[in-house]
């Protein structure tokens, strides 16, 4: 093929739609097609969701240890659920359900993946925008719609749903007969998650197409930064996972409103009424839900792993011991994540032989997770680690990931799960490994990328203070959960009335106080975020001396990212510890050749 022929057929990178600058408030800030604005919108939504979810957890923690104390203002939120500010058992379960749903879907899926991924994935591969900007806008606004539907469940007549974020059938499927909170609120829950699935599918498709099609010249797959890889692998996982939850939610809604019996067997007597259903299987819901639910854990944690790796490398001023191994491990985790869902169901009544089948890959997943941890630790050796708020949160992530990870050794084994299933041990495990660890990834990402996203630096001293309080606080909250679990403390109880649980209440009181303090410490972060957005020192283009493409553009980036030019990439993403004209690092787009 001659050169002329090559030029006649434009490469994919050449046909990216060049935006015109958006005009008007609505196009600029509301229904924007710009991936950067959409990324910030996701971030803002996650921020609203995380503070809502956190306040719900405060209310639950207070109720558990001071059950009769009237919480000021709570009575106004729900007269029936908390008469005089003292919540009823069902209202506790509502808060539990809403806390879990908000955190898992609207925080842990949105913040590390959709928010940062949207903002930085196109930039890091040198693209002008996502492959489908209109899809992208739709993804966000569909997510927002899902959020509104979920929040609306707080205000419906018979109360918000109480079946937990896992919404096990038939409790979630039979309707108002199953008690307060199982009426319209539960239908809204199903609808919200259904809509959320659509949004996530659109988003994942967009991420995959963008990564595969819009890489700039020289940006081979192996030259993509680790966080880009993480977002890409996560979108592949999300595409398959949400594709299963979507129909599952539809079936659940049909069981509730159309009289079908996908998840409801015959012969159930609820509230003295023989239910008009037959033929369904409650275990089917569990299988469908966890087939999504376990990959969801990795949808939350993989982007955080990517972000943390990116930030650690920059702070250590050296590449990781192996770029490839980390990427293969993330792929391995993503692949295995589809084979382990049954470990949530060891005592569910499924065939006990299948428990062993699910236990094995669950134990095997420890291997890539350990390799990643060892690579992070091994790379710290002999590095020139810079301590910033971002790197502290990245190091904190490693510590949390280890702490939450080792408790997985127990829960992966069906025999031990007989004792620990449905106890606070499980609550401690998943809060640390997918909740707090992923949130640490988000905090690290925020302190690191805020200058690029807003053009202002955040206050480092406040950031470090925020880290110390959060790091110590989260250990104080979630470590004791494991001890309570060993004592057999059952989860999802709105009060501890059993003889063996009453003596444990002082430990719960300690946890509640720790949760209130740690939560309050997040106000420092919120203040820093808002204050720095308007009053922070102006950010230089590349404050952290980082090598990837987002740092070659002004802070904040112009609407068209690279000004309509195609960036050419010459290097692997992490050229640190070299001697170049810029210092100890070399930008990915620098044609300069140096010796390592």
């Amino acid at each position: 093929m001659s050169d002329g022929a090559v030029q006649a057929v434009p490469t994919t990178a050449d046909v990216v739609h060049h935006h015109q600058p958006p005009q008007g408030f609505i196009r600029k800030y509301v229904f924007s097609l710009d991936h950067k604005v959409i990324g910030k919108q996701y971030y803002a939504l996650a921020l609203v969701a995380v503070f809502t979810g956190m306040v719900l957890s405060w209310l639950m923690r207070i109720h558990l240890v001071w059950p009769n104390w009237p919480i000021p203002g709570l009575g106004l939120l729900s007269k029936a659920g908390a008469p005089g500010g003292v919540m009823t058992p069902e209202y506790y379960l509502s808060l539990l359900t809403m806390h879990g749903t908000l955190m898992v879907f609207f925080v842990l899926t949105n913040a590390p993946f959709a928010a940062f991924g949207n903002y930085f994935l196109p930039i890091q591969i040198g693209a002008e925008d996502m492959a489908f900007p209109r899809f992208n806008m739709m993804s966000f606004w569909t997510t927002f719609l899902a959020f509104c539907i979920l929040i609306a469940a707080f205000f419906v007549g018979d109360g918000p749903p109480i079946a937990g974020w896992t919404s096990y059938a038939p409790l979630s499927a039979v309707g108002a007969d199953a008690g307060p909170g199982q009426g319209f609120g539960q239908t809204l829950w199903g609808l919200s998650i259904f809509v959320f699935c659509i949004a996530s599918l659109l988003g994942s498709l967009n991420f995959i197409a963008t990564t595969l099609d819009l890489r700039t010249k020289g940006m081979t797959l192996s030259r993509m930064p680790i966080c880009t890889w993480a977002w890409f692998i996560t979108s592949c996982i999300a595409l398959l996972a949400f594709a299963v939850l979507l129909p599952a939610c539809l079936l659940l809604i049909l069981d509730r409103v159309a009289g079908t019996s996908f998840f409801i067997p015959a012969g159930l007597v609820i509230s003295d009424r023989l239910q008009p259903h037959s033929g369904g299987s409650p275990l089917l819901w569990q299988h469908l839900f966890w087939f999504f639910g376990h990959p969801e854990v990795y949808i939350a944690i993989l982007p955080a792993m990517g972000i943390v790796s990116h930030i650690l490398i920059n702070s250590m001023r050296r590449p990781l011991l192996s770029h490839r191994v980390i990427i293969y491990c993330m792929m391995g985790i993503g692949f295995l994540s589809y084979m382990v869902w049954g470990h949530h169901m060891f005592v569910s009544g499924m065939n006990p032989f299948s428990s062993l089948m699910f236990s094995f890959p669950t134990l095997v997943i420890t291997i890539p997770a350990t390799i990643m941890t060892l690579i992070w630790l091994g790379s710290l050796y002999g590095s020139r680690l810079r301590i910033t708020a971002a790197s502290l949160f990245a190091l904190g992530f490693v510590s949390m990931f280890v702490s939450g990870g080792v408790s997985g050794f127990f829960l992966a084994q069906p025999s031990i799960d007989i004792y620990l299933h449905a106890t606070y041990f499980v609550v401690g495990h998943f809060h640390m490994v997918m909740g707090v660890a992923a949130i640490f990834g988000v905090f690290a990402g925020t302190y690191f990328w805020f200058p690029k996203m807003t053009g202002h630096m955040m206050n480092e001293s406040l950031g470090k203070l925020h880290f110390w309080l959060t790091f110590i606080g989260t250990y104080c909250i979630f470590m004791p959960f494991h001890y309570l679990g060993l004592a057999g403390n059952v989860r999802r109880y709105s009060a501890f009335v059993d003889d063996f649980l009453v003596p444990l209440i002082p430990v719960h009181r300690f946890i509640t106080i720790a949760a209130l303090c740690t939560g309050a410490a997040q106000l420092i972060f919120l203040y820093n975020l808002i204050h720095s957005r308007f009053r922070g020192a102006p950010a230089p283009d590349n404050p952290w001396e980082c090598t990837s493409l987002e740092w070659i553009m002004p802070s904040p980036p112009p609407f068209d990212n690279f000004g309509g030019k195609h960036v050419v990439v010459y290097h692997d993403p992490y050229q640190y510890g070299v001697k170049s004209s810029t210092g100890d690092y070399l930008m990915q787009n620098s044609p300069e050749q140096v010796e390592a």
């Binding site: 058992p89 379960l93 109480i162 038939p170 039979v174 199953a178 008690g179 307060p180 409801i264 067997p265 159930l268 007597v269 003295d272 023989l274 409650p282 050296r318 990781l320 192996s322 569910s348 006990p352 236990s359 095997v364 420890t366 390799i371 941890t373 060892l374 630790l377 091994g378 790379s379 710290l380 050796y381 002999g382 680690l385 810079r386 301590i387 502290l392 190091l395 510590s399 080792v406 408790s407 050794f409 127990f410 069906p414 025999s415 031990i416 007989i418 004792y419 449905a422 250990y475 060993l486 057999g488 059952v490 989860r491 109880y493 501890f496 009335v497 059993d498 003889d499 063996f500 003596p503």
Partner: protein
Amino acid sequence: MGKLFAVIVFVIALLSAIPIITHSWFGSGISFALPEDISTHGHAIDEQLSDTMVEAGLSFLAAQFVLAFFVWKFSNRQANAEIKTFPGGAKGLVIAALVLVGTEMLALGILGQKAWAAVYFTPAKPDAIQVQAQAGQFAFYFRYPGADGKFGALHPDKIDEGNSNFFGLDPANDVDSRDDIVTGELAIPINREVHLMMHAKDVGHSFYVRELRIQQDFVPGLDLSVHFTATKVGKYEIVCTQLCGLGHYNMKAYLNVLSHEDFDAWMKQKASEQ
């Protein structure tokens, strides 16, 4: 600042281990120890748990200490300090992870099967006592077959809690059900196997007795069963561990392990009360 991080990680790791090692909340008398095992199969689970605790505990402490040590040593070094590579590089670490963790996981996986098999892969003995358990919002009920050794058939449409017909029996037409004994507590004789046949009346529930090392869900539409042998006389709490609605926290019953004489007397008394 890096040194502060190192110290805090080190202290947190140590403090986290103390309640595990001492089984108590920093000497306050609040115990985190597993309750005494009263089953014949439970020791295998306990052993597996304590083996895993050793492996998990060592991995936890080692990783946190190494993190603390490296951050202490390599943070805030001079800008021109030499960058060194970990001896053995990525290859060494990958091999170490594969060998160490692989062996560890394989061992746990294989050993753990034994404990699981003891509960699930052996059928109940033919002479085990047959008891049926029914879970409903928010109570457990238990049924014994009575003198004829036969359970009467269940008719969900006949369930009438107001008349104490919790199981939906039909004594008017069904001879087998006339001598069935229905109670709110699970009384069993010591050292004799119990075959517990479980079904749910309405939504999902679970049967959890810590001392017995038994946890099994009730799944609507599925007839499940567990079998166990209790080895110590006493009263133990049965609690529900599957979210079942507003009264979930308060859904409980008692397991009453009796001597053979006491069990026979109990059975006679209950039969006369029916």
